[in-house]
Subunit: 178 residues, 2 copies
């Protein structure tokens, strides 16, 4: 599946609806994947994203030291792998290997992209002032990619304890909102 | 519609899926409503929520001075009012009046709750260090309410420019995730 470059000005539209995402990082020894729902858009362009990553997660120290990651957006068919990544730790396993996900080389960061995800967003950490108290990392998006063949991606949205809402119909209302 | 008290330990499950919400505030002279999608859960219990509110919004200064608000979660049938609130400013109009929404008295904050929304979450501002640079307010949830008759609320999720994804089917996977 060949991905196309996606305009940074449109990245907010991928994340604003609140899908579960897979955050990838790479330490010197291995790449890792973390399931994440606690994030928000913070600026349109360049896109800025705030992410809450528990300091108990394996990803926390890798992100603190490498200051790079990618946000990968999975769809319904990846739901079992998403839960698998959320129920395991990179301290014990190689998640790319165990869950059969494909590492794709990113253009701006060392963290790999997940080939099976319909969109991939390369990010660097730009603010760590709220990490100590709130585990909040602020990321700037450097580059984004999308699978142009996926028109209405069935993203999944976590309600807690493995219960997900699947993206439903789309409605369009006249609006001046961005 | 009589709302029931909702456990604070379960509030994350309302917000984590990423629905558009209506943020209510009250100044000395009037109550206001702001349409909001840029927020994230930050802690389970007591629940902490990070909200990005542009300093161009009427709500910004009211929240800075009163340090209280409510997060109200609308469903599909309120979509036109949600867009109406997003396309207008409390500087010019009384949104409760113009959009025909019902003010319900909250128990812990002066900001009114929106009667038509299926869930209401009363909050106070607990951190303003990231307001100047990122417009990020950090809120603690004091009290939450839910309409017990709404089993599968059809929340709406903003993709940008008035295009919304409507909550679809629910799937349940075995999970140790919270």
């Amino acid at each position: 599946m060949a991905k196309k470059s996606f305009p940074l000005s449109k990245v907010y539209g991928l994340l604003e609806p609140g899908p579960v995402v897979l955050l990838t990082t790479a330490s010197k020894t291995k790449a890792n994947i973390m399931t994440m729902s606690w994030y928000t858009m913070m600026e349109f362009e360049p896109p800025v994203v705030g992410c809450v990553i528990s300091n108990r997660n394996y990803t926390f120290n890798i992100l603190k030291s490498t200051k790079e990651c990618a946000i990968n957006i999975p769809t319904l068919e990846l739901a079992e792998k998403v839960v698998g990544c959320g129920n395991s730790s990179g301290r014990q396993i190689d998640k790319f290997n165990v869950f059969g996900l494909t590492q794709v080389t990113a253009s701006c960061v060392k963290a790999p992209l997940i080939g099976e995800c319909y969109a991939n967003i390369e990010c660097k950490v730009v603010e760590e002032k709220m990490v100590a108290k709130y585990n909040l990392f602020i990321l700037e998006v450097l580059k984004a990619w999308i699978d142009p063949t996926r028109q209405n991606p069935r993203t999944i949205h976590h309600r807690g304890r493995g219960i997900f809402m699947v993206a439903g119909e789309t409605i369009r209302l006249p609006s001046k909102m961005k």
